[in-house]
Symmetry: C2
Subunit: 369 residues, 2 copies
């Protein structure tokens, strides 16, 4: 049925023979086509954040659901016009290969399930959007990249901030030289975890604590605000293991990154305080966002010596929301056979640093990257 | 003449015999008395910041000047009613011992001269206020403390922020439990050095770069906002040594402190970006100051999730300004024989950490304190 899907696409595009070009060259001829997404995992993020966003998409539509909760899946399917035949569970997941409506699988499962469900999706002949963090280890990331490559399918990581207008404008300003030579970036992300039973606090599901969750935003910001790759890390973790929330995973972890140009990044993530902040200092001033990476309501300031000017008039983003921008980006990459700007390799880069952060905290020493 | 001074004081107080109690018990009987300050060093801070503050003092007055620039000293003396006989230079400095008007010497010299001029003041029978950083090494700090102890004189470090109402209210709020358990403090201080010839950029005078200057504010804040002493430090320095400003001293240095309770501090100082910021995160919210430690115009916010409430109505400080509060505090400690809240030991504590920060940056490893 993989071939069947491919054949359909090729037929629509006039029958290009080269398999690796199928998605791109073929669909480029039909840019108005909406690619079909299957959402895997109907937790809060998948069900309440992502699914309602398809109405804002130009090239993406919801066509299938994968859930362990049949009643919930049936309700959501009815609400969003997904046919009952396109509801799957974790037992019959692999049979998505037989559903030509599904072009892309969006993995919204707990972190430790990302690798398995991404690889199975690729083997089923589907492109994959995988939520961040990409996986819980470097080796899993590598296996995911290899599986998608072998299947000739795109892999994109759900780094929605790359489609968020406030952050895009901040990056543009940083690259424009508006604040002179970049010297220092700080990125802090945290919230107060209140439910000790949350899957994000279970090592087997989350792979780690705040670093695997909010920390990925801090790390990403350090990289996209500097435009550089770090050369070393030093990290310190502080967790009250007597706290029932933190028996299995870390609460707070702070790390410092050195970049080749001499820029320093100071990053933190935590589950015991609310913080959502990105600051870039340059020789001539600052670029600051607070909140920086929320679903909405982010704020951006510039200033020589403080928050002097709020930037409220942002250039229009690629879509009406960061979520729609993200969903459509993968669709467009498939239609035009481009690599997503936040590819599996991008997720792998972060995971290498995440592993080094944990190692540094464990060994209490600087780790060269 | 030391004895002479002492005798005068003792006579005024009714002739208490115990030498170590002289300053305290004696002057306590005359709380309205203004102690006489000699300002050593008529650079910008001494001449333009400190000297104009005596008019706001209750227990302190300007009585003498020490300067290498006779014309400047004469002009300032005339402006502030200091008699010509009380103008000294660095050659006849030790003869301040013969001037009974001088109770306290305020050392406003470049950092590397702090130890020498403090020790000579103590040997001349004078109490000492020494500008921050206390000195350029732990051993110098120890020698200064020993000299003052041996002379039976008070030693206070010019940590003006301990008399600054915004910071005092921030500390009060932190200690009140208003933001719950303290988790994370960040303190950043820097400005753009523009003059490559500034003494602060000369190793022999400054002892170091931004850490010795603005970094002391960041370090102090980490300690007073947590109320704890750090147990380890990791630091990273980044300096463009090709920049003519930074041939001798560091530009930017970032360090992480671990505290016994699990609180983390992230601190930075720099000479290549403007920043003046202190943030304390707790489980229930934040206390934030920006600017935090300026001479005036500091701002304080609290909030659960951002800068929600600006605290504009501050409890009155001990004096009309942080500078007057600092000057009068030492006078009052002498009059009532109490130890200053920012004693030589406090300066020494910071210098031990400063040395560890430099060592950590040099050796690229965590240093236990």
């Amino acid at each position: 049925m993989i071939d069947m899907t491919r054949r359909d696409v090729m037929a629509a595009a006039g029958g290009l023979a080269t398999v690796t070009l199928v998605g791109g060259a073929a669909h480029a001829a039909d840019p108005g086509r909406k690619l079909g997404y299957a959402i895997v995992g109907l937790g809060n993020y998948g069900a309440n954040v992502i699914i309602p966003q398809f109405k804002n998409c130009r090239n993406s539509r919801l066509v299938a659901l994968v859930s362990g909760d049949p009643a919930k899946a049936k309700r959501i399917a009815a609400e969003h016009g997904v046919p009952e035949r396109s509801i799957y569970n974790y037992q019959n997941y692999d049979s998505i290969r037989d559903n030509p409506d599904i072009d892309i699988v969006y993995v919204c499962l707990p972190n430790s399930m990302h690798a398995e469900y991404t690889i199975r999706a690729a083997k089923a002949g589907k492109h994959v959007m995988c939520e961040k963090p990409m996986a819980v280890s470097v080796s899993e990331c590598q296996a995911m990249i290899a599986a998608c490559k072998q299947a000739g399918k795109k892999l994109m990581i759900g780094y929605r901030v790359h489609f968020e207008p406030t952050n895009l404008e901040a990056i543009r300003l940083a690259e424009s030289g508006a604040i002179g030579k970049r010297r220092y970036v700080r990125s802090e992300h945290g919230f107060v975890q209140t439910n000790p039973e949350a899957w994000r606090l279970k090592k087997a599901l989350a792979g780690g604590g705040s670093l695997m969750d909010m920390g990925v935003y801090s790390l990403q910001a350090a990289r996209y605000m500097t435009g550089e790759e770090p050369v070393s890390v030093y990290a310190h973790e502080t967790t009250d293991r007597r706290d029932p929330r933190f028996r299995e995973v870390e609460d707070m972890i702070e790390w410092q990154l050195e970049f080749p140009s001499g820029v320093i990044a100071s990053c933190i993530s935590m589950y015991s305080a609310n913080q959502n902040h990105i600051l870039l200092m340059g020789e001539k001033g600052r670029i600051e966002m607070e909140p920086a990476t929320r679903y909405e309501g982010n704020h951006l300031w510039t200033g020589k010596d403080g928050r002097e000017q709020e930037i409220t008039s942002l250039p229009p983003g690629p879509r009406s929301t960061q979520f729609a921008g993200q969903l459509d980006h993968l669709s467009e990459c498939i239609l035009s056979n481009r690599e997503p700007i936040v590819s599996g390799e991008e997720g792998l880069r972060d995971m290498r640093i995440v592993e080094a952060i944990y190692r540094s905290a464990r060994e209490k020493r600087r780790i060269a990257l």
